[in-house]
């Protein structure tokens, strides 16, 4: 079942409830806006009645796929179940009915929550202070790099390079480039971990920081982390922790104890706030004492029993977000931490690692699993064993969609050909993991016996195989002025004036 576009359902005479005429005279638009920015005719918007609009969006919503309905094995991008208690807390009027311009004395509860969340996160990752401002993960990376840059500058050093492993998340080099650094790639060793020899070769007094995810994107713990930290610190550089994979070891070990100087966390991954669909995200950054003066301002301080916003921070890199970050997400994350408790967080990570290892064993022998286990909270398989049948990772992913699962991450990390990256998380039952493994088994069998059938999947979903290549080429050709091909499938009829 598909649903036409609202434009395609438009009827010339339909309308939503009509608003009463205003009882003041309307200002002529060209008196308040320059003529050159005014449209010559109104935009062509769809015309539908209120029930039609309601049904249109309800149908689209029913086609949606979310973690509230089914398993979501998206690797390296922890998609955790969002507990209902989080929503109940975030909906409390004490949080929803306040305004960021209110006096501090009248929002002590909100400041208390920020203060407590900061200290809880400090305890989880082993740092001295945390900023809650960054609005998402990449924003957190950028914030941390700006603090590291400010630290080096305060020591009269203009370090220009940032090291990034070849298995890193794409946002790492992007954040470094956006902060004005030159990105230098560090190779992986054959075991999938960062190559110490290559790291040593790339380290120099020009290097400001090494950005590292631990466990890395292959789901492998960087067991040389203490040596890595020593090498990095010996050259005066800082060690940055990308928190995408923090779900692997909460309450078991702490990035701060491993030698990381700046630690980013994704509340929308590890701490169960909504992820995807615009979230919004929240990417707090924790720092060790040396970097504390550079934290974004304001910070929340407790003074004589009162909570205050501290703007007097001369070395601060400034605000990185309007007001105080995505506050509603902070409430949800703090609720999760309280509901779980320290023991609960530890158990969550241990269960996440157990689930991943169980599924890894179930998938071994069906797909290639190129790196030796055990893994941490995720693992990377490869569909290259199906290449002789003309089957690629993409086909396996589409086969999973046909079998009512969301597809795992494919073609990432780039260091594994035909990568299929799976992260089950701690909330999935053994029955769900078994059902997923059974689906993989069925797909692999189909790949060998009837590859053509697999090539045509999914066929029971509202849309089948999309022609991604033609779409991408058409859009690029259009953007480069090489074609006038419309990108939208719907075009207004020439005589269709509103």
């Amino acid at each position: 079942m598909t649903e036409p576009l609202s434009f395609e359902k438009s009827r010339p005479n339909a309308h939503a409830p009509r608003l009463p005429d205003a009882d003041v005279a309307a200002e002529e638009l060209d008196r308040v806006l320059p003529r050159e920015v005014l449209r010559s005719r109104p935009p062509t918007l769809p015309r539908l009645s209120e029930p039609e609009v309601m049904r249109h969006y309800s149908k689209l919503a029913s086609m949606n796929y979310s973690i509230s309905e089914q398993f979501y094995p998206l690797g390296s991008c922890t998609m955790k179940y969002n507990p209902v208690a989080n929503e109940a807390a975030a909906a409390l009027p004490g949080f929803t009915a306040i305004h960021p311009y209110q006096d501090e004395e009248t929002v002590q509860g909100a400041l208390e929550l920020m203060w407590r969340l900061e200290h809880a996160l400090c305890a989880v990752v082993g740092v001295d202070r945390v900023t809650l401002q960054p609005a998402a993960g990449a924003h957190g990376e950028w914030t941390a790099l700006r603090m590291i840059q400010a630290f080096h500058r305060s020591h009269g050093e203009a370090r220009t390079e940032v090291l990034v492993p070849d298995s890193a998340h794409g946002t790492n080099p992007a954040s470094a480039a956006l902060s004005g650094f030159q990105v230098v790639e560090v190779a992986s060793a054959p075991d999938g971990r960062i190559s110490l020899a290559d790291l040593e070769a790339k380290l120099s007094p020009r290097v400001a920081a090494l950005m590292l995810t631990n466990p890395n994107t292959l789901g492998l713990f960087e067991r040389d982390i203490l040596d890595i930290a020593e090498l990095v610190h010996n050259t005066g550089a800082k060690l940055y922790y990308d928190g995408a994979n923090l779900n692997a070891f909460m309450g078991v070990c702490r990035p701060g104890d491993m030698g990381f100087d700046a630690v980013h966390m994704n509340l929308h991954k590890t701490f169960t706030t909504p992820h995807g669909g615009g979230g919004p995200g929240a990417g707090p950054v924790g720092v060790k004492a040396e970097l504390v003066p550079f934290l974004p301002k304001p910070t929340v301080e407790r003074l004589n029993g009162q909570l205050k916003l501290d703007f007097k921070r001369p070395q601060s890199i400034g605000r990185v977000r309007s007001f105080y970050g995505n506050f509603g997400m902070l409430v949800r994350a703090y609720t999760y931490i309280l509901a779980m408790g320290g023991d609960g967080l530890t158990q969550a990570s241990m269960d996440a690692v157990l689930s991943a290892n169980y599924l890894r064993k179930r998938v071994e022998g069906l797909l290639d699993v190129p790196h030796e286990g055990p893994c941490m909270h995720e693992f990377v398989a490869s569909a290259r064993n199906l290449a002789p049948n003309g089957i690629k990772a993409l086909d396996v992913a589409k086969g999973l969609l046909e079998r009512d699962f969301y597809a795992p991450t494919i073609y990432f990390p780039l260091v594994v050909p035909e990568a299929i990256m799976v992260e089950p998380t701690e909330t999935e039952s053994k029955a769900t993991l078994d059902a997923f493994a059974a689906a993989i088994k069925e797909i692999v069998q189909e790949a060998k016996e009837q590859p053509e059938k697999l090539h045509n999947e999914p066929h029971s979903l509202p849309v089948g195989r999309l022609d991604e290549v033609a779409t991408a080429r058409r859009i690029n050709a259009y953007l480069q002025g090489q074609s006038e091909d419309p990108i939208l499938r719907w075009k207004p009829a020439p005589n269709e004036a509103c």
Binding site: Y411, P417, V469, A472, R473, N476, Q480, Q482, S483
Partner: protein
């Protein structure tokens, strides 16, 4: 004209006197899959051996392109903007990417056909 030379980052180079033509290898295009977009430099740009000069993008991945040699860009294959699929269909012919005016020696780590073949076997 001598045989093509190859880099570990899967570019090829065909040298003719002081000029050279470069592109990505058949192995590279087969690993990338259908190419949908290329970001390429303007003629006149000076490149150092190993320097990133552009990006090739497929629906699977975006990869940096690295200059196999030091030199100045004299021409860019402008057909690729409208037909990136030439990289897939004819990587050593109509899918060429750059022409360069060479300066200095060729890097020593460029591989010949046999060595590159062995290198890609180890990558599979």
């Amino acid at each position: 004209m001598a045989g093509r030379l190859y880099t570990r980052s899967h570019e090829w180079l065909a040298v003719e006197g002081k000029t050279a033509t470069a592109g990505i290898t058949d192995f590279a295009q087969s690993q990338l899959g259908d190419v949908v977009f290329l970001e390429l430099p303007n003629p006149g740009r000076k490149l150092a051996a190993g320097e990133s000069f552009g990006v090739v993008e497929s629906v699977k991945a975006a990869s940096d392109l690295y200059s196999p040699v030091t030199g100045r860009v004299t021409a860019v294959n402008d057909k690729l903007a409208g037909k990136p699929e030439l990289i897939n269909s004819d990587p050593y012919g109509d899918g060429w990417i750059l022409k360069l005016e060479l300066s200095g020696e060729l890097p020593r780590d460029l591989m010949d056909e046999a060595a590159y073949k062995q290198f890609t076997e180890s990558q599979k």
